[in-house]
Amino acid sequence: MLRIEQLVKRYPTGDAALRGVSLTVSEGQVMALIGPSGAGKSTLIRCVNRLVEPTSGKIWLRDTEITALNQRQLRRIRRRIGMIFQEYALVERLSVMENILSGRLGYVNFWQSWFRRFPQSDIDQAFNLLERVGLSDFVDKRADELSGGQRQRVGIARALIQSPDLLLVDEPTASLDPKTSRQIMRLITELARERGLAVIINIHDVPLAQMFVQRIVGLRAGEIVYDGPPDGLTPERLSDIYGAEDWGASQTAVPEQEPLLTAQE
């Protein structure tokens, strides 16, 4: 459903973030994108909805070539692509409800959005999602009153109310504690299964990724160096992605220790 061909991104500073990445994600597939900081993970998913303009290469979502769209068409296709962010990226001074409804901005006209007069169907859907992510009591709370885990749940609801076909998830757990991280990953993968969404999750925490996804793609210096099932990530493969390290030691380590060197930014 998502097809990326020979994607290249070079920043004006001359840094090549992506050096010809080709990737296909099928309907309903949940994929994790791993790799060291600066490998191009963020750039890759931002090229998909063109928050970052690719230098060359092509991206198709089903039959639409995203890389060929004009601004107006791009805004229409963005409605079908939900995005979840590392630091939640909520508008802190708006309420939980307003943050969730902002996921419908691509569907309503300007005055509806200005006066917060969203269609009843949107509001019903927002209440259903609030219930699903367990935040029914927080409708009119301001986003900055919530904890990290709660904020990410709002972020998830905002992405899902777009009724997307594809979810782009950028380090959803990087600012969360281990327990909340698992809950958020479980929620994202469950919701994706319920709705049959394809998902790309950028993630630093390899064991967490292995726990929840069917496919892992390893990126190193803008190139794909691993693409396979989670249990195929042997210490050798991890060294291909992250560079040499005593992977065996860290994988059997007690949870109090750092799970992996790269779990830190």
Binding site: N49, L51, R75, R76, I77, R78, R79, I81, M83, F85, E87, Y88, A89, L90, V91, E92, R93, L94, E98, S102, G103, R104, L105, G106, Y107, F110, S113, W114, G155, R158, Q162, L168
Partner: protein, 270 residues
């Protein structure tokens, strides 16, 4: 600790001088002193004129100690009302103009040509002091409050649009990206991702500007741009120092009141 000290017990340290070269440093001090001496020498001091001035000043202060609110009360009343009207109208007009210009002058959300134009308007507004702008508008529109309103509205842009633009440039970019990712256009992105982040500050700055405009409305009146300043100027021309004193007391009271109220409002917004 003891180990660190033992390696070298007496190491001196002085703050490095601001200017490294000792000759340059003392040369500059000497130069400044010579210039000061010459500058003082160039001001001609006429002691007879000072004596006359002191006497006149004494009379003025004496008159000021007996403010006369009564004899020209009608003029004062008209002047105060005109000043308040000028302040309200110019602040509202200024804010309405400042919001789009402020948005345009924020580098992170405006395209370069619009950014340059809006920054240009702000720079022009900030370059000229209110009195200079007032003189221009008085020449254009004649004496009266219209010139004052235009002056204050224009000066408001330089203040409000600049500070608003700087606030916008410092907003958290993550929500901006998130709202754009939903497929929202520019205008919706501004109302959902930018305005919520700056609106409290905008209200606070507008209230602050209101009290600045009230103060300035007295000043621009002196060059003929209407309001209580014009009334004040007239009393000075007639040597009615007691009336002038009454007007000054009224201005001071009004400014203090608005400052108090605006400080309260801004405190609530924090």
């Amino acid at each position: 600790m003891a180990e660190v000290a033992s390696s070298s017990p007496h190491r001196h340290w002085r703050k490095p001088p601001w200017i490294q070269n000792r000759w340059l440093r003392w040369g500059m001090v000497l130069g400044a002193l010579v210039y000061l001496a010459l500058a003082i020498g160039s001001v001609s001091v006429d002691s007879a004129r000072i004596a006359r001035g002191l006497e006149r000043g004494g009379r003025m202060i004496a008159a000021f100690l007996q403010p006369d609110f009564v004899s020209r009360w009608d003029d004062i009343q008209i002047g105060v009302l005109e000043s308040l009207t000028m302040t309200v109208v110019s602040t509202i007009a200024g804010v309405l103009l400042s919001v789009p210009i402020g948005l345009g002058a924020a580098r992170n959300i405006a395209p370069t040509p619009i950014y340059l134009i809006c920054r240009g308007i702000i720079t022009v507004s900030r370059t000229f002091q209110e009195v200079v702008i007032a003189i221009v508008f008085v020449v254009m529109f004649g004496f009266g409050p219209l010139a004052g309103v235009c002056t204050l509205a224009f000066a408001t842009i330089g203040f409000l649009a600049k500070l608003l633009a700087e606030d916008i440039e410092e907003i958290d970019p993550a929500p901006l990206e998130a709202i754009r990712a939903t497929g929202a256009g520019w205008l919706k992105t501004i109302t959902y991702a930018v305005m919520p982040q700056v609106s409290a500050r905008l209200v606070g700055l507008s209230v602050y500007r209101f009290d600045i405009n009230l103060r300035e409305s007295a000043i621009v009146g002196i060059v003929g741009a209407g309001g209580i300043g014009s009334t004040l100027q007239a009393t000075f021309n007639r040597y009615d120092y007691d009336v002038a004193s009454a007007i000054l007391i009224i201005i001071i009271t009004l400014v203090m009141l608005t400052e108090l109220i605006s400080a309260q409002i801004r405190k609530r917004l924090q």
